[in-house]
Symmetry: C2
Subunit: 428 residues, 2 copies
């Protein structure tokens, strides 16, 4: 008697095919993320250069700005080509709605870049307004990376995407610190509000980079540590200390602005090396996962073929009689719920062995995926809690975050755990 | 100047199409769940009848068993037809790998039902073994329902699926309580181990039904409350009390078995009404969600067409200059992060209004979905913690669960929160 029907066999293969489809989709998302990373880097440079151009009333950095815009447009075009070929190739239902929605928003920002550049060119916009506009576009692009991580189906790739997103987010906070600093120096004084903003951005960087460190590999960590212990950060720290002493409002020569800008820029540019390393690993892991899953499918098909030609087994094991399957609660032989696929149950491989192996593989992936997504879930809970606090107390995002931070310190808990309590209490 | 490119427009529609595809998939999963519910109910009946047939050495319930098997096969065939038409219709990438994998496992169980029935027919299996086999198949089918809830993309439908899964799980625990009770009466005595198992099943029912109650609507709650306050439960409670008093091992006449069985069966059958109510609501909500999303897409297309023929706006709002978009951290006008889509930003609707409305819709859905999935996430964390405790202390699943329960009581915390701590501590 055969222990499986044709439909069962087809579903076994359908599950494997669904896995391959999901990995292909993920691989496309990884290619997108790599192109997004390049555009963000160029936008950060263009933002900084435009800032100095506007601050000097068009006297400085006019050529640099011109050259940078050319480079920016090149990368933007490349991202647009990538987007079209990856997601608009005629097939329906490609891509996840949340990812596609975030792409749309970022695209609309890019559609209007020429308008922004025109305003900068004609000095019809303040440095702060221009900075803000670039920040919004970068935030929109970062959302695309965050969603790509959130919809990923492979644990190893999710870990890489979480590391990459947090590193990029930390780098963007570093870019924003540079921008606020430049504005302070340009205005020749730092008040306590501005000092406070700079400190918040330093805390935010620390937080993002610590999550990156949790998910990065040794090589990336070593590079990062060398950067953190290097000359550049020491210089930056000296500047940070100097700015803190200026909180009383004493003035400073505006020429120092360019020194600050130069150091901060070198640091941000240096960070690109780690981004490159992460995306290289990401693309190779994504490609490999599709290859592995395809090989696995072929292997499944071969084994199924062998089973069909093999002599029939007298009494094959089925899920109905497998003591490792959960069943009657309290029964002695149903205590193990972990499916162990290390060795076949029968002396020769049966259809059920194949089936059980795949179920164990998919279950293991799901468990590891949940673990890898912990950082994403925590980020979402913190964002949700912030929003609820903002609405309840009519305060700003920064104030809401500081409230969470204070509670966490007072109660000696992680900020994500405090956020979780807030969401459960207020959110219902 | 037009404030959006053709690619942006195409991505806006692609996001909407992806939403529709996801809802169609969800609608298919809801149809599957409805068919699974029917098969589980018949398997529960067949398990009970087979138990008495085996317990009486084939003297009782031979005809009932024969009739029941016919009904079971009808429902099984109907589920198989549904499975084929919903998931094996030639299109690739239909269905989620975890759902498909669980379907495969349940199908293999059904493939081998005739073998189980044959063993029961020839009395070559003990009542406990047969019960165990039916339990495993039902557990496999329940996993399909759980996965359908886990991969759902719509918050309202997820809430319904969570209510349905937990109700079905509670009903299954009620069925298992009936089975253990029947075994005790058949053996004419209850020892403390058996009493303990029955108590665990009562606790498990309470837990499942409380989650159902959290997600059910008023009508379902009223029906449930009437059942809980009705004659049947009172009778059952009297039996439960009597069994507790038999923990000392005193014997009881085995004839009482059928009275116990009859009451427990009536209760389980009565539960079917609530299942029906839930699945009716589920199917109508799933169908409606696809209709609504399609209408929404048509509306989007119409508005896009109107925008193309409308006179050009001088300075349309873009995400670059939208104060509601997050941007520079610490900037005064970037404090609001919640996108409010209630009214258009411009006096006339612009492309950006449309885009922002959709982004807000998708974001709201995602937040509500996270909230609706809380119960599923908690269940997964509890399962994971149980497994880790089992492995660490080499104890059974029930013992592991009781340890969690005890810690939760001692520390006055929810069991899911304790499980979360265990997973974070042990799981790394």
């Amino acid at each position: 008697m055969k222990d499986y029907s044709d439909a069962t066999k087809r579903f076994l293969l359908a599950a494997k095919n669904a896995e391959i489809q999901a990995l292909k989709q993920l691989s496309a998302n990884c290619q997108l993320v790599t192109a997004v990373k390049d555009v963000i880097h160029q936008m950060q440079r263009e933002r900084g250069i435009s800032n100095i151009f506007l601050g000097s009333k068009g006297q400085r950095f006019a050529t640099q700005r011109h050259d940078q815009i050319k480079i920016s447009i090149d990368h933007e075009q490349s991202l647009r080509r990538r987007l079209k070929s990856l997601y608009l190739n005629g097939e329906a239902s490609i891509g996840h709605m949340r990812l596609l929605s975030n792409i749309t928003l970022a695209l609309q920002g890019m559609d209007n870049l020429s308008l922004l550049r025109h305003k900068v060119e004609e000095l019809r916009i303040t440095p702060l307004q221009a900075t803000q506009a670039y920040c919004r576009l970068i935030a929109g692009l970062l959302c695309v990376v965050f969603e790509a991580a959130d919809v990923a189906s492979d644990p190893a790739i999710t870990r890489l995407l979480v590391a990459l997103f947090n590193f990029m987010q930390g780098k963007e906070y570093a870019g924003q610190e540079r921008a606020w600093g430049a504005i302070g120096f340009a205005e020749t004084h730092f008040d306590s509000t501005l000092c406070d903003k700079l400190e918040q951005l330093q805390i935010a960087q620390k937080h993002s980079f610590s999550i990156f460190a949790e998910f990065a590999n040794k090589e990336e960590l070593d590079t990062w540590q060398a950067m953190e212990e290097g000359e550049l950060l020491a210089d930056l720290e000296r500047f940070r200390g100097m700015i803190r002493q200026l909180a009383d409002g004493s003035s400073i020569a505006c020429e120092i602005s360019e020194v600050w800008y130069d150091i901060a820029t070198k640091r941000v540019d240096e960070m690109q090396r780690i981004e490159e390393h992460l995306t290289t690993r990401l693309l190779s892991a994504a490609t490999q996962s599709v290859i592995d899953a395809n090989a696995n499918l072929e292997n499944h098909k071969k084994q199924l073929h062998q089973l069909q030609t093999a002599p029939l087994v007298q009494s094959p094991l089925t899920m109905l009689f497998d003591p490792q399957m959960p069943g009657l609660k309290g029964s002695e032989d149903s205590e193990q719920t972990e499916i162990n696929s290390a060795e076949p149950l029968s002396t020769h491989r049966s259809f059920y062995d194949l089936l059980r192996g795949q179920a164990a593989h998919i279950k293991r992936m799901a468990t590891e995926l949940d673990e890898a997504k912990r950082a994403i879930t925590e980020q979402k809970v913190i964002d949700r809690a912030k929003l609820l606090i903002m609405q309840q107390w009519q305060i700003s995002e920064d104030q809401a975050y500081r409230r969470l931070q204070k509670s966490a310190m007072e109660q000696n808990m992680k900020i994500a755990d405090i956020a979780n309590i807030v969401v459960k209490q207020v959110g219902r």
